[in-house]
């Protein structure tokens, strides 16, 4: 089943990418404030008149 190595390589590569992404996002402080983002996404910053939300 040599092909499984291929799949392994591919999967681990991707997993690696996401690990990097994870570290990056933590480093960037993406998760320091878990309260604002879910609320903020509810508002569209459209101009006052056309602000319907």
């Amino acid at each position: 089943m040599g092909v499984i190595l291929l799949l392994l390589a591919a999967s681990i590569t991707v997993a690696g990418i996401f690990l990097a992404a994870f570290i990056w996002s933590v480093k960037k402080g993406q998760y320091e404030d878990e309260d604002s983002p879910p609320v903020r996404m509810l508002f569209d910053d459209t101009i006052p008149k056309s602000n319907n939300n």
Binding site: L8, K27, N51
Partner: protein, 798 residues
């Protein structure tokens, strides 16, 4: 109060509070005060009224208006520099702490500031920290303007002395990295270990080896990076000549890793990489859960976060703003109404009426004459005063008190944790089992020694105990937090559980601080007189006058001829033709017998009429709480206030309880010490700085806060005042916590026994390990979360 009850409530469109009697109407919208109305008008002008659509009455009451030029000090360059995070030639970045922030409306409004003032470029809110990062064009508006703008829309920045020293509470990310790495490695190692368990056949030896070496590779970061957490704390404990739980765990991890590497390299087996990385992963999760931090409140605030950032100094009659550290001896400071006294000093001008309630617990302002010493921390009420500094801020009497006894560190507490004690026995048992196994095999089949011994070490890792502990703690912290009872750290749970003596402070803790129970004793009072008193009192800012004013109902705005206020004595003036005097017994009756009560006497046209007796208003349901606690705890009351309510309180606390009054901060601290030397484990509840010392000294110091955003003294826990009645339940939950840990630990022991059964025979296959590991971990997870949540629900805490 009856009058209040009659009229039906109309709530303020802005803050949702009862509008009382005089309702302000704008565009068919009711407002409780000009402050609220003002905010509405500003927002309306800025086309930001969605603010009111997003959530109902999103504002906070503006009854207490902000003192004009309160933010004058923001003009001062030195202060500016200390506050702003970055400044280019045209733009300034500043971050303000806005305690009033609480709902999605707040977030929306605060991120749309640029619509109120186009010179504000952007503002980003951090809800968890209740901070707003604001970028503005400082050529167009000043920092002060920004602060005032915020204040004007109801978000007054809370700027304190502390902000000078930039110590933002930023949480430790390294654990998350470690967790991520461990998780990544764990999943993939699992993936590549299974083939062997699932019977990959020998035909595919190439694959098998491939997998094994990849596992070895992946486990390196787990072993050297993710697990470092535990090495450190284990090493610490060993240096303290003390075995904490991490020690045996580290031992197990190392042995596991060592043996696994050996197996792979010698090609004798696949090793236990999956079990190892798995356990590290789970233990890290536990730690992360347990280390949950409440960013919006800080547990070790010292006086610096209570004091203003700057005060006005008189330099040869020139007023100048000066930051606290720069206050030198012999400086003359100008203290405005409602301002804090930053340093001990001698009163050089004006008569001071200083409210020490927060500092000493005395609920009445104290009068100080010129030449008297005034202590830092008090709040001046009334006219401006000048003081000559005789002790620098850091040296002041109270400051010293708050700073004392720093030695008591949290990890010294940790050492007493029963978990570590168990862990220690555990370790010894493991060693002896290993030894026995070794001896046994050395007689029968020496080849098996290494096998069995290492296996025992691996399987007997008390990680299960650690897991059960951290997970339970994590969950309990979560539940308590949901109930607005915030613990500084997980260890506090245990200290609370172990306590047997609870000490209360009175003012601000049991009572809401303000006087509302007013009893009139004297001649019957005609309505006309009531009106006169109302008018008179409405002119004074003395707390008792205020209380009376509100007691008489709405303030009628009438002039008082020759209104005079005798600080510390009373007030008088001619109201509608009659001379009305109101004040202390001495002031009215001019005699000296002092009853230990808080009362205001009054006379009309020099003729004594009667007195108003003031009683503290006790928080809702505290009596119930006390009576609950009385059953199982020895209670005490330490009040800095007068003994006016001795009977009542002794009645409440019972005969055995010690109820002490006129306690100076230091006394409180000493009393606690005394209790501890008698072998008591003390929980101290207090709110004021006067309790700070006691709170620190107590095994558990719980700060009661009317609103967790504003100042609370250093403590191990913070409880929202309105949650106080639940305290008994909280304590019970903390006790259950321990039982849950024990329960899940027993379960994990069972797993260990199974494991040991195999390992002593030297037949512990990686497969069995790999099954036992997640099995025990998961069942522990379930038991801890399940049972602790279950109990919490039964107590109605979830």
């Amino acid at each position: 109060m009856k009058k209040e009850a009659v009229h039906q409530k109309t709530t303020c469109y802005h803050c949702g509070e009862d509008c009382g009697k005089q309702i302000i109407m704008v565009e068919q919208k009711n407002f409780c005060c000009d402050g609220c109305k003002l905010v509405y008008q500003i927002l309306n002008k800025g086309g930001l009224c969605d603010y009111y659509e997003l959530t109902k009455n999103p504002g906070s009451s503006r009854k207490i208006s902000v003192r004009k030029d309160k933010f004058l000090f923001l003009e001062d360059n030195k202060i500016k520099q200390s506050l702003i995070t970055y400044s280019s030639e045209t733009q300034t970045h500043v971050s303000f702490y806005l305690p009033q922030m609480h709902c999605s409306s707040c977030l929306w409004l605060l991120e749309n500031l640029h619509r109120l003032d186009e010179h504000i470029v952007t503002s980003k809110v951090n809800f968890s920290r209740k901070e707003a990062d604001i970028v503005f064009n400082h050529n167009k508006i000043s920092l002060r303007n920004v602060a005032e703008l915020l204040a004007s829309i109801g978000y007054e920045p809370y700027i304190s002395f502390k902000d000078i020293k930039k110590d933002k509470p930023h949480f430790d990310k390294s654990k998350l990295y470690k967790l991520g790495v461990a998780g990544f490695a764990f999943i993939n190692i699992m993936l590549m270990s299974f083939p062997e368990y699932l019977g990959i056949d020998t035909k595919e030896q190439i694959l098998v080896n491939m997998f094994r070496y990849l596992n070895l590779l992946l486990s390196l970061p787990v072993f050297f990076y993710s697990a470092s957490e535990f090495y450190v704390s284990a090493w610490k404990s060993i240096r303290h000549k003390y075995l904490n739980i991490d020690a045996p765990i580290v031992l197990a991890v190392i042995v596991t890793f060592g043996r696994s590497v050996y197996e792979v390299v010698t090609g004798t087996g696949g090793g236990y990489f999956d079990s190892m990385s798995g356990i590290v992963f789970f233990m890290l999760i536990g730690r992360v859960l347990q280390d949950k931090t409440y960013e919006q409140l800080s547990f070790d605030r010292d006086y610096t976060s209570y004091f203003p950032i700057a005060v006005t100094r008189l330099n040869k009659q020139e007023e100048e703003t000066v930051t606290l550290p720069d206050i030198k001896l012999d400086d003359t400071l100008l203290i405005h109404n409602e301002e804090l006294i930053p340093a001990d000093g001698i009163l050089t001008r004006g008569t001071a009426l200083i409210d020490y309630s927060f500092v000493t617990g005395e609920s009445l302002p104290v009068k100080k004459e010129m030449g008297e010493i005034v202590y830092a921390g008090g709040k001046q009420i009334g006219s401006n005063i000048e003081i000559l500094v005789i002790k620098e801020v850091a040296q002041s009497y109270l400051t010293k008190l708050w700073n004392r006894d720093e030695s008591k560190s949290t990890d010294s507490k940790k050492q007493h944790s029963f978990v570590n004690l168990i862990a220690r026995y555990f370790t010894w048992i493991v060693f002896s089992i290993a030894a026995i196994a070794a001896i046994y095999w050395s007689f029968n089949d020496p080849s098996k020694i290494w096998n069995s011994v290492t296996a025992v070490m691996i399987i007997a890792c008390p990680c299960a105990l650690l897991l059960s502990n951290t997970f339970t703690n994590g969950n309990v912290l979560r539940i308590l937090g949901r109930n607005k009872f915030y613990l500084r750290s997980a260890t506090t749970i245990e200290s609370i559980a172990n306590a047997n003596h609870i000490v209360f402070d009175k003012t601000g803790t049991l009572t809401s601080g303000s006087y509302h129970d007013i009893e009139y004793v004297g001649k019957p009072l005609p309505l006309a007189y009531k009106r006169k008193l109302a008018i008179l009192t409405s002119h004074s800012i003395h707390p008792l006058s205020k209380a009376l004013a509100s007691y008489f109902g709405s303030a009628v705005h009438e002039d008082v001829i020759g209104y005079t206020e005798w600080p510390g004595h009373g007030i008088e003036g001619i109201v509608e033709g009659d001379l009305v005097s109101l004040g202390s017994r001495k002031f009215i009756l001019d005699d000296n017998d002092v009853l230990d009560e808080t009362a205001v006497y009054f006379s009309i046209e020099e003729q004594y009429y009667g007195k108003f007796i003031f009683r503290n208003q006790y928080r809702h349901n505290v009596l119930m709480l006390i009576s609950q606690l009385r059953k199982s705890y020895s209670l005490s009351l330490l009040s800095g206030d007068n003994a006016g309510e001795r009977q009542f309180l002794t009645g409440m606390f019972g005969k055995h309880a010690s109820v002490l009054f006129h306690q100076k901060p230091n006394d409180k601290l000493e009393v606690i010490k005394q209790m501890q030397t008698n072998g008591d484990h003390v929980i101290m509840l207090g709110d004021g700085l006067n309790d700070a010392g006691a709170l620190k000294q107590a095994d558990v110091g719980i700060a009661v806060s009317d609103n967790s955003n504003n100042f609370t003294p250093a403590s191990d826990a913070i409880i929202e005042a309105d949650q106080l009645p639940k305290l008994a339940k909280f304590i019970r939950l903390c006790k259950i916590n321990k039982r849950v840990v024990m329960l899940s630990f027993i379960i994990s022991i069972l797993y260990n026994i199974i494991g040991i059964y195999f390992s002593v025979q030297g037949t512990l296959s990686p497969m069995i390990a790999a099954i036992l590991m997640p099995a025990s971990s998961l069942s522990i997870l379930l038991v801890t979360f399940g049972s602790s949540t279950y109990f919490a629900r039964r107590m109605g805490l979830v």
